[in-house]
Subunit: 355 residues, 2 copies
DNA sequence: TTGTAGGCGTTATCAA
DNA sequence: TTGATAACGCCTACAA
């Protein structure tokens, strides 16, 4: 059945009553409600969403703007975030609108989404250190939740983030506790807010332990396999290569391990590796999949939190406004006490010395 | 400015005229048109999309239904496909609606999308060998394009696919030409239509060369890193391990190479590896990124083709209906002439023998 | 508890 | 070339 009118004629009821019955208004008698619901199912009726949107002024749609730029790449972590958010939308009756735009168009896209009422709210992805988007969206009057948070004005909007600083601090401390002092960091791009905080955590742990921060042991790039590989190659070419590496993503770690293996360094033996684990489903590091030591926090859950929080706000429900997730250290076999292993690459440059 | 009415009052023109001017109808004088367009920009007016949809009966939205099931995973190849399709939607003024649903809900979701007019068309992802979706969507009267094609009724709907059979045949022939006879296949899940065709291509090349098809040299699983790893471990445990491996995805290849390295087999030396390359941006195998020999066809372009074709059909334009893309063999350093290399794992089980 | 009537912001059909 | 006016399909005061 196409529309309300037809159904109302068929049932001999007014459109109003049917609408009320279907939308759960209290003033409808249980008998009619049952009759209406039954008839709706039978005739396969469902309200036209455009009409409903026009009448209510709500779109029941959440927008995700995905700027495409570096290597024309969509961040591979995006898939799992979307899986989490999408499940919530589905459950709560919202649609997910994804706009793939040139990064220069991003601001214009937000304005357009607002202007023509296509979305009720926005999820902001991958905030940079000082990001103009929160202020802009606030000015537009478009509800939004940020996945992550900026460095300068995080108190002024709703966000869901992982405690990246603490996570990387803890990971670094763990390595220090194992006796490592040459600890490398394979970080994400450092204009990203999260990468900045991760570096902060890493450096603070080093300083606390009286270890000098060494720029040659840090890299900053996209969190993808080839970047991890290149970074590790550079580290291994140093006069004093690291004995441990901290990776910002399992994808980077893949590259790091590849480069390490080329030098006959096995994780947990020749080198200690610990990586931040978003629980990317397509890598499936799993409870023990790769035996890696990880700092774990599922990006998928972040997606769920973002979606829930945004919908709550749109619907005027009370909400936390800020959720800070804690990553959890899970020991695997890729980290071990620091002792220059036989066959270590550095060994034939400088004979193994204690300390 | 919020709506047509206000703009019309401001300009002293009827809503009709303004609508016509903005939508490029021919019967408007150039003078008024210019005036209207100018005013629209100045007052930041844009038609409300719900209202327009209601009036036209078109949603200008394309739906992608993503069933989530295996390991709660969204296929990682999805991101790049979306990047391609999304760019086209953006250019042609369409929205992309993504529904993440439980795989049991998929059919119901299509029906719902049709019923309430949320989308003008659908992209069907990852068809299985005999897939009910094309018939179902046809019956629903929902325009669609399939990325890939079924085995039984491919002639009955529009699709964009890679010539998987030919690609895998050619890849296998290439390895055979290098003298390999123990060639393994790390395939995708074989209820998927594309995986079936790939296997077909692989087997036909073997048969043509008089090489027996050996079930122990074939694996079929998700195209992700850990699955590739496991498959390769099994192959390497065989009495006569393969001298060459054909991988269905760069992600599987990553796992395969990892397992190979653990046995001191280097690609291009101890073992030949060739993989199907979707040009996943986050792996960035690149023109020479990893030096792999690949069969290449960008999944991103498939996304573009699908989107264009679907929009053409929705708008009643003439269209090809079928696009068969050819993958291209690109030689890297991961394939070499077959000769049992020193240190090959099989060597200490059976001394190297020619042939 | 049910119905009537008006409005949501466009587009489309007629007249003028 | 322009303008009334009626859809489009639903929701929601207000009335009964």
């Amino acid at each position: 059945m196409a529309n309300l009118k037809q159904l109302s004629e068929k049932l001999g009821l007014s459109q109003t009553t049917i609408s009320r019955a279907l939308n759960g208004y209290p003033e409808v008698s249980e008998a009619t409600r049952r009759r209406v619901i039954e008839a709706a199912r039978e005739h396969d009726y469902e309200p036209n969403s455009s009409a409903r949107r026009l009448a209510t002024g709500k779109s029941r749609t959440i927008g995700h703007v995905v700027p495409i730029s570096h290597h024309d790449m969509i961040n591979p972590h995006f898939t799992d975030f979307i899986a989490g958010a999408g499940a919530v939308y589905n459950r709560r009756g919202y649609d997910m609108l994804i706009s793939v735009v040139d990064s220069a168009q991003e601001a214009a896209t937000y304005r357009a989404l607002k202007r023509n009422g296509r979305v009720d709210g926005i999820i902001v992805h991958a905030p940079i250190v000082r990001d103009p988007r929160p202020a802009m969206l606030r000015k537009l009057g478009l509800p939004f939740v940020v996945h992550g948070r900026t460095l300068d004005d995080e108190a002024s909007y709703a966000w869901v983030d992982v405690n990246n600083c603490r996570a990387f601090r803890e990971a670094t401390q763990h390595l220090i506790g194992l006796g490592h002092r040459r600890i490398a960091l394979v970080n994400g791009l450092e204009h990203m807010a999260f990468a900045q905080r991760r570096r902060e955590g890493y450096e603070s742990a080093l300083r606390e332990a009286g270890i000098a921060v060494d720029g040659t042991l840090m890299s900053s790039d996209e969190m993808i396999e080839p970047a991890g590989y290149e970074a590790m190659r550079r580290f291994l070419a140093l006069a004093e290569p690291p004995t441990a590496v901290l990776c910002a993503s399992a994808l980077s770690a893949l590259g790091v391990m590849g480069a390490a293996r080329e030098d006959n360094l096995l994780p947990g033996t020749g080198i200690s590796i610990i990586c931040y684990d978003d629980c990317l489903s397509f890598l499936d590091i799993g409870p023990d999949g790769m035996g890696l030591t990880v700092m774990r926090s599922a990006i998928r859950e972040a997606g769920e939190h973002c979606a829930s929080m945004l919908i709550d706000r749109i619907e005027g429900r009370q909400t936390a406004g800020r959720i800070l997730l804690e990553a959890k250290l899970i020991e695997g076999r890729s980290t071990a006490r620091c002792r220059p292993a036989p066959g270590r690459r550095a060994a034939h440059k400088a004979p193994a010395t204690p300390g």
